[in-house]
């Protein structure tokens, strides 16, 4: 190694500064949100809070502990994540298996692949999809959030490509021992694919946790809303309040709204992901690079 030149050293310093600034850009908004939720309502409304709580108190969180809507929607979200992920993963798994076979092993593979692939590129759009969900009687049921997206074709393709990397010898040996497809799938493919299942599973869990629009669309009664849908009603209501009124009115309205409570709820909606995120990140990164970079 040469001794670093002056310009190189200068670059390293500037680079570190720039990247640190961008890092802050990723974190500061959430610190700000947390600080508001921990501040007194008056300080929050006056816009005095920056990165440190002003008039520190836990009132918002204490109030949140008694708030029925929040906990009800939190429970709906948990149900949705558990049920939805189970259905998604099961379908991805059993659908990817036959399609990972060669045309020689499975004669009808190609038509099936096209059948699924087309849906990745063309869809009916919002209104016809809504009508179908309505006609199949799912409106206002948690299944409306699960069944329409029960088979994620993109995840299935990832899974299928992973299956193909499993050595053929494993399967041949099992076949000789008398195992059928069903047994091969659960006894051989399942244990070997755990890393891949973990990656896809994590993406699925995060997807279900974060989804909110289908709740707005398909659920009529707010007491069935998952957490993110409930949060979206809070956010969209403040946003529509802001329209066609004077600045004074906006200021008055902000004084009325419980800003600390709202930010506390938003923060709690993000918290589960923020807590597990650092541990999951490496899986995501691995899964993503596998999925997007192809040789």
């Amino acid at each position: 190694m040469h001794k670093p030149t002056i310009s190189r050293r200068l670059f390293v310093i500037v680079n570190t500064l720039v990247l640190s600034a961008i890092t802050l850009l990723g974190i500061i908004p959430f610190i700000h949100l947390l600080s508001i939720s921990l501040s007194s309502n008056t300080a929050a409304m006056a816009g005095e809070v920056r990165l440190w709580p002003v008039g520190f108190n836990l009132d918002a969180y204490r109030y949140l502990g008694e708030k029925v809507e929040f906990f009800r929607s939190f429970r709906v979200s948990l149900t949705r994540v558990v049920l939805g992920t189970a259905v998604n993963m099961f379908l991805v798994f059993i659908t990817a298996y036959p399609l990972s076979k060669s045309n020689h092993q499975f004669k009808f593979r190609t038509p099936y692949v096209w059948f699924f692939a087309i849906t990745m590129f063309f869809g009916g759009g919002l209104i016809p999809t809504y009508m179908i969900v309505k006609n199949t009687g799912l409106i206002d049921s948690v299944w409306a959030l699960i069944l329409p997206g029960a088979l994620n074709v993109w995840n299935m393709v990832l899974m299928l490509n992973f299956f193909r990397t499993i050595p053929k010898e494993l399967e041949e040996a099992a076949t000789i021992d008398g195992a059928g497809h069903w047994r091969i799938l659960w006894r051989i493919y399942l244990p070997v694919s755990l890393p891949s299942i973990a990656t896809i599973g994590l993406f699925t869990i995060v997807g279900h946790w974060n989804a909110w629009f289908d709740g707005i669309l398909y659920l009529n009664s707010p007491d069935k809303y998952p957490l993110q849908t409930y949060l979206s009603t809070l956010i969209m209501s403040i946003n529509s309040q802001m329209t066609s009124i004077s600045i004074e009115q906006i200021k008055a309205m902000e004084n009325l709204s419980e800003k600390t409570l709202r930010t506390a709820q938003i923060f709690m909606g993000a918290l589960p992901i923020m807590v597990v995120y650092p541990f999951l990140q490496k899986y995501f990164v691995k899964g993503m690079t596998v999925g997007s970079v192809k040789e």
């Binding site: 570190t16 961008i22 409304m45 816009g47 379908l91 659908t95 699924f116 069944l147 600045i247 938003i266």
Partner: protein
């Protein structure tokens, strides 16, 4: 007959997926007939009257539609360019960081918003840019007038574009970093022997080495040019900024769900789907030709 017996289990495994896909993916495609109907919810697809292209004509002649189409294209073109440029610069800068823990930390921080929902991020953005939020506080301390970011068509579009780039830049950055790590170390060693500094190495080795992935990402994003970010805009906009931020998807949503104009709404959706499909087909073919990219 023998193959059928051998393969019946494979068909059986596909059955649940096929049924779900038939109903919820192909069903809506069939439901697109309503774009050509005077659709009555009570009568359904089968008993509503056909009106030919009247819905399309009606929508295209709406004064708002041109603006909506224009907004969609402007917003997504800006997003597409920034989604290549910003992560590229970040990846190049990050590649120069030699301390591993620091690099890891930055990656995590940049990646974080990607995993949060638009409800959370929308809440954060609205709070940041509100009239007495921190951004206006900063302007105030610089002796500038407060700006109503969320009610101003000019600013709001920038916030939409900027916040989406903020949310998504970590993803492409990781993909690009992976591409950089894939470049052979021997190339850099050879360049160093030839006396090329870091800058020259970047220009002559790193950037050309990344060209395939850059072109691939760019080409593939073209297929989504009519998707300007539905959930994001829906949660952040309000009637005052419809003029600058209303996109095809939000327009369809309001037309269908609030005005109950199912036929016209389906027609706009159909228009969008057809254009998108054509673009996807072309770009996918281009990606295949250039980069041998396939998904199956």
């Amino acid at each position: 007959m023998r193959t059928l017996k051998k393969e019946y289990l494979l068909h059986l495994m596909l059955l649940p997926g096929v049924i779900v896909t038939l109903i919820y993916a192909y069903g809506p495609m069939a439901g697109l007939v309503m774009a050509f109907q005077q659709f009555e919810p009570l009568a359904g697809f089968f008993h509503s009257d056909f009106v030919g292209f009247d819905n399309f004509r009606y929508v295209f002649e709406l004064p708002d539609f041109k603006q909506v189409l224009w907004n969609t294209i402007v917003i997504s073109v800006f997003k597409m360019i920034l989604f290549l440029l910003v992560p590229l610069i970040l990846a190049l800068l990050l590649n120069e960081v030699t301390r591993r823990w620091f690099s890891r930390f930055i990656q995590s921080a940049i990646f974080l918003p990607f995993f949060l929902s638009w409800t959370v991020l929308g809440g954060v953005i609205i709070e940041l840019f509100s009239l007495n939020g921190p951004v206006n506080g900063l302007l105030g301390s610089l002796d500038m007038e407060p700006i109503m970011f969320m009610l101003d068509n000019h600013w709001f579009r920038g916030i939409i574009i900027g916040s989406d780039v903020w949310k998504g830049m970590g993803y492409n950055m990781i993909v690009m970093l992976a591409a950089i790590t894939g470049i052979h170390a021997t190339l850099y060693e050879a360049a160093e022997v030839d006396g090329a500094g870091r800058w020259k190495q970047m220009i002559h080795i790193t950037l050309p080495g990344m060209a395939p992935i850059l072109i691939l990402l760019g080409v593939l994003s073209l297929g989504g040019i009519l998707n300007a970010g539905f959930e994001q805009i829906l949660i952040m906009y309000n009637p005052t900024v419809y003029e600058g931020a209303d996109i095809i998807d939000t327009f369809v949503y309001r037309l269908g769900m609030f005005s109950q104009q199912f036929g016209p709404a389906a027609a706009v959706g159909f228009f969008k789907s057809v254009i998108s499909l054509a673009l996807v087909a072309v770009t996918y073919y281009a990606a295949y030709k250039y980069n041998n990219y396939r998904i199956f």
